[in-house]
Amino acid sequence: MTLHAIHWALIGIWGLLAAASLIVYVLSKRSDKDLTELVQRTQSWWVMVAIFTLAFLVSNTISIVVFGLISFLALKEYFSMIPTRRADRRVLFWAYLSIPVQYFWVYDSYYGMFAVFIPVYMFLFLPFASLLSQQTDGFLKSVGTLNWGLMLCVFSISHAAFLLILPATEGSSAGGAGLLLFLVFLTQFNDVAQYTWGKMFGRRKIIPGVSPNKTWEGFLGGVGTTFVLAIVTAPLVTPFSIYHAAAAGLLIPVAGFIGDVTVSALKRDLGVKDTGSLIPGHGGILDRIDSLTFTAPLFFHFTRYFYY
């Protein structure tokens, strides 16, 4: 088997994770602070990277199914977290059903339907399905929260999956898989980078009313690190020119930050600390993919505009 660029990229990710685990291990031995959460987080990263790698290596279809499952789990978490109406049980069921349909458009490479199915058809259909119960009390709130959840958990995340089926271009043999790897890796790496910079040097708070742990030092440090990494890794797995690599290297960390604080605002409104407890050390799945809900659609359209 010959190793393609994509395989080298995956090997690189495993190497980076191994190095990070080693650092966490040494820290937890030396420090007398309680680092349980950090250790748990690192362990969860292994599981997530393993699932991702496996899906990646086996087939595109499996990867699309995995993203569909992520959407399902995220939407379930969202619906369990927000106030809902008894009358809307059936409507929630329809919302769940949009997941297989949306991911079918991805599988089918049907860009037209992929792009409009949720924001046009579902957003118009769900309010109608909801009014059939004839309970107009809380109608607006219910419709608003439902549509927003579908946007965040299904529509946004499905853009990551759609990257996967973009064909290889002249500039890069890695094709869609390379772009997806680039997006997911940089989005997640940026989260870790912003967190680490913030922990080490964070002093000036950005929006303490929403997320008290977010600091300018963390944000800028994260953006800088991710920017450099984007420029270094782009030639390996993407068709990007140096300028586009630089633009993506800014787009991903900034959008990631916005996604993160948006979900934070949501959690603060609902009075919960984590969206769930599915991933030890990270909280719920929505806590993990919050950045991706913003980076995926923005990065997808950025790429599509310039290269497809």
Binding site: L73, K76, S80, T84, R85, R89, R90, Y96, G276, L278
Partner: protein
């Protein structure tokens, strides 16, 4: 065998469709005699509680349920007895000479674990009603059996009474410290009610109007 196969399927379905957030799983009784008491919102309750237990213990865990509902037809009765492992209790005392809880006493004497819903019927989903006293008779008769309160949330949202459409929600299961019979019926019932109040206030749940 049939029961194991059924619960392997249930375990997978519960894990995937619902997803459980269980607090203090270690307090679940692994051996009888013991009594698990839970609030009742949904047909899912029994299956989810059973699915929390290891497969090897299943044959010794017995849900207690209304005879008039679960044994109302031959196929229902067969399913209830052989797959769900239900102990029937006559709700309406037609026969006053027999103690309706006789089956429960027997099970406890055989070192089995009972699952009981002291609210009686499922009622309005996600709203607790008053506890019925039957549980205190069991506790009095078998004082060595710890009574473990479990509060569940979300199952009634996923599958409320009267609905066949299962809508996925993450569900919370709070296992409480066991209480034992101390000699007084009112005191016991108040203590149990108190436990449930504590468990249900452990987390603020999103409103469901």
């Amino acid at each position: 065998m049939l029961q194991k196969a059924f619960y392997i399927f249930i375990k997978i379905a519960v894990l995937f469709l619902l997803g459980l957030n269980v607090r203090r799983k270690e307090l679940l009784p692994s051996d009888g005699p013991a009594i698990i008491v839970a609030n009742h919102n949904s047909h899912l309750d029994t299956m989810v509680l059973m699915a929390l237990m290891p497969l090897s213990k299943l044959k010794d865990i017995k849900p207690v349920a209304a005879a008039d509902y679960f044994f109302s037809s031959p196929w229902k009765a067969w399913l209830s007895e052989h797959v769900l492992g239900i102990i029937p209790v006559e709700r309406k005392g037609a026969d006053r000479t027999a103690d309706p809880l006789e089956g429960c006493y027997q099970a406890l004497d055989n070192n089995q674990v009972l699952i009981l819903f002291p609210e009686g019927s499922r009622g309005t989903p996600e709203e607790m009603t008053d506890l019925k006293k039957g549980i205190s008779y069991l506790a009095e008769r078998v004082p060595t059996a710890p009574v473990v309160p479990i509060f569940t949330h979300g199952l009634g949202k996923a599958l409320p009474k009267g609905s066949f459409l299962l809508v996925p929600f993450f569900c919370d299961i709070f296992v409480g410290e066991p209480i034992t019979w101390a000699g007084d019926r009112t005191e016991f019932m108040n203590g149990l009610q108190e436990r449930f109040n504590q468990l249900s206030s452990e987390k603020t749940f999103a409103p469901w109007e």
